[in-house]
């Protein structure tokens, strides 16, 4: 029974996956175990995308099923367990860019892995990032961008964080289409990620080192 959810979600069997979650929650099972299996399933989805057997529609569909599972599980998580947040992350798509699908998947995965995510949306000017960092004292900042003009917006955002005297209080990761180390250097970020799990691993590393 335990393996069924991993199989159902990674195979994108929506009805089956939600039915399994419903039955197990009604049976009084620990909701954190369910989320753990959802995480495993998303890992399989990510791997298949890298290998070329899954494509963007599969990422989007798995994200939708995951969202539905999250909503079923969330009310059952005890305040205590919910309070154990791994850390805060400010996340947004930079100015001039309105792509959000990848950013939303990153938000899910961070949330699933216990982070408190402040998703400030798309087409976000540098000042808004600075404002949110000040407000939340988040140690992790994740900048998303897909268009080539996003590289300049990422650079401008990092510079604004510097100007505000906050650069040393945060670690910054960039992600989106066509990421590489040259772009990271250009933008002045600490890291770049090519998929959602990279953002999770980065956030975990940052929080662990504090």
């Amino acid at each position: 029974m335990a393996a069924d959810l991993v199989h159902a979600l990674s195979e994108l069997k929506e009805t089956e996956a939600l039915e399994i979650v419903r039955k197990r929650l009604d049976g009084g099972e620990n909701p954190l175990l369910i989320l753990d299996e959802a995480r495993k399933a998303m890992g399989i989805v990510g791997k298949r995308f890298e290998e070329g057997t899954y494509f963007i529609p599969d990422l989007i569909y798995s994200g939708e099923i995951l969202q539905a599972i999250s909503e079923m599980v969330r009310p059952k998580i005890s305040k205590e367990a919910a309070g154990k947040k791994a850390g805060k992350v400010v996340l947004g798509t930079v100015k001039g860019d309105i792509h959000d699908i990848g950013k939303n998947i990153v938000a899910f995965m961070l949330d699933l892995n216990g982070f408190e995510v402040y998703d400030i949306g798309i087409d976000v000017p540098p000042e808004k990032f600075v404002e949110k960092i000040r407000e939340t004292n988040a140690p992790v900042v994740a900048l998303s961008g897909f268009l080539t003009l996003a590289f300049d917006a990422m650079k401008a955002t990092v510079e604004a964080i510097e100007k505000a005297g906050l650069r040393d209080t945060v670690k910054i990761i960039i992600g989106g289409g066509n990421m590489n180390d040259d772009i990271r250097k250009y933008a002045g970020a600490d890291a770049y990620g090519v998929d959602a799990m990279a953002a999770v691993k980065f956030a975990e590393k940052v929080v662990a080192s504090r």
């Binding site: 899954y54 963007i56 939708e64």
Partner: protein, 444 residues
């Protein structure tokens, strides 16, 4: 597979139009240019490789205007097109379909476009704002009456000032003198009357736009330059996915409502065929139909990371596109597919068309493989990379042009172009592409 005589006839007629050209020389040049293109389409060797670059907002850059200016000022818009075409002398020119559209977008208070001066800097071309303008549970509404769907569901959602249309009754219910009594009341409210004012302004702006296109195309034809297409259409999957369901919506539909998705695509085949051929016939029965492809692509050379799997391409994307292409070909039209993304993994599927009836314009592609699979069947077009045109030097351009010609141009059935249009192309690079093709692209 037999080639298509209707296409041959239509191309022949295009090359010999009953147009009263001002001089013999102009007429000769017009016929040479159309013949060059028609020969390439029919997989023959023209005298040299034809040039019909996708210029769009490059016209503005070349003439020294901003993108905003050409969307509002008819004189500047026309000047930029005529200057670019007469200077660079292509064999077929791009109709400036995005010029003089500012007033139309303002008239309906567009929510679905950002354009220079309205959400974008004045020197940047417009961007489409995607949305779920058709909801997941509205397939039945669309299928039962597409016109009603567009008027009372879609239009109110993409505009900021036509919401009153969604308060009217479907026009299919107005069938008798006694229904007519009350049928118009919805438009007689204060909001309804305001919406009628919007439609008035929108209709005028639309009329001015069409008049502008007719004027500029007409002038250039009389100077001996044919436009390279006379109509535009999309794959039915893209009609649904681009502007109605949106990317996320249509991707989820493949899993959650595959039957309705397919039914809608089938319905759209007929709507698109009628739309396209009406436009083409209004434009002198121009044979070439521009078809940009969006959601069917892979992301990488080996087929990974794309907007759908190969299986989904074969199941959802290709069948209705191929059906639409078939109707066009049977009526003498030449589908010109712009294969955005990388179609290397789909070559074997898309080669299934009558020889000498289609143009396939590549963005990213394995050129050798494309030549092997499509040579002798499809006229190929492209594909000098856009980053060379925007960031490179004329020497870089010449090198890229030579490479394209050497691999794709051999034996005929090839048209020179860049992979994409862009207002960021350096004029000296476009000049280098044109001049070098005219020199190196001669068939001996």
């Amino acid at each position: 597979m037999e080639t298509n005589t209707k296409v041959q006839e239509n191309l022949e007629a295009w090359c010999n139009p009953p147009i009263p050209f001002p001089t013999r020389d102009v007429e000769r040049l017009y016929r040479e240019r159309t013949k060059r293109i028609a020969d390439a389409v029919q997989l023959k060797k023209p005298d040299r490789i034809p040039l019909m670059p996708m210029w769009e907002f490059f016209y503005a850059k070349y003439a020294g205007y901003t993108c905003e200016e050409v969307m509002y000022d008819a004189q500047k818009a026309e000047d930029s097109v005529i200057k670019t075409v007469t200077d660079l002398q292509p064999d077929g020119f791009q109709g400036p379909i995005f010029f003089m559209t500012g007033p139309v977008l303002e008239a309906y208070d567009s929510k679905d476009v950002l354009w220079p001066g309205h959400g974008l800097p004045v020197d940047q071309a417009h961007q489409f704002v995607e949305g779920e303008y058709m909801k997941a549970n509205e397939y039945d509404a669309f299928l039962s009456d597409p016109s009603d769907f567009m008027l009372r569901y879609y239009l109110p959602r993409v505009s900021g000032n036509l919401n009153a249309l969604s308060m009217t009754s479907p026009f299919r219910q107005n069938f008798a003198y006694f229904t007519n009594f009350g049928a118009w009341a919805g438009l007689g409210t204060p909001d309804g009357l305001k919406a009628l004012d919007v439609l008035r302004a929108l209709s005028k702006a639309s009329f001015d736009y069409v008049s502008f296109l007719i004027s500029v195309v007409g002038k250039l034809v009389m100077m001996g330059f044919p436009p390279w297409s006379g109509s535009l259409t999309e794959a039915p999957f893209d009609v649904l996915g681009d502007t109605l369901r949106g990317t996320k919506g249509i991707m989820l539909d493949m899993y959650r409502q595959p039957a309705l998705l397919k039914e809608a695509c089938e319905k759209i085949v007929g709507i698109m065929a009628e739309y396209t051929m009406t436009a083409a016939r209004a434009n002198g029965n121009h044979p070439i139909v521009f078809i940009p492809l969006h959601k069917g692509t892979a992301s990488t050379r080996d087929g990974k990371g794309g907007f759908m799997s190969l299986k989904q391409f074969e199941e959802f994307y290709w069948p209705t596109l191929r059906k639409l292409m078939g109707i066009l070909i049977d009526n003498g039209f030449v589908p010109n597919l712009l294969l955005e993304g990388d179609f290397t993994s789909r070559l074997e599927i898309i080669k299934d068309v009558p020889p000498g009836t289609c143009i396939y314009h590549f963005e990213h592609i394995d050129m050798e493989k494309a030549k092997k699979v499509l040579g002798g069947r499809v006229c190929m077009r492209g594909c000098v990379p856009i980053h060379i045109m925007t960031l490179g030097t004329p020497d870089d351009v010449k090198k890229a042009v030579k490479e394209q010609i050497d691999i794709l141009g051999e034996g005929g059935g090839y048209i020179m172009d860049t992979t994409m249009a862009s207002e960021q192309i350096k004029p000296e690079n476009m000049k280098a592409l044109m001049d070098f093709t005219k020199e190196y692209g001669v068939y001996k």
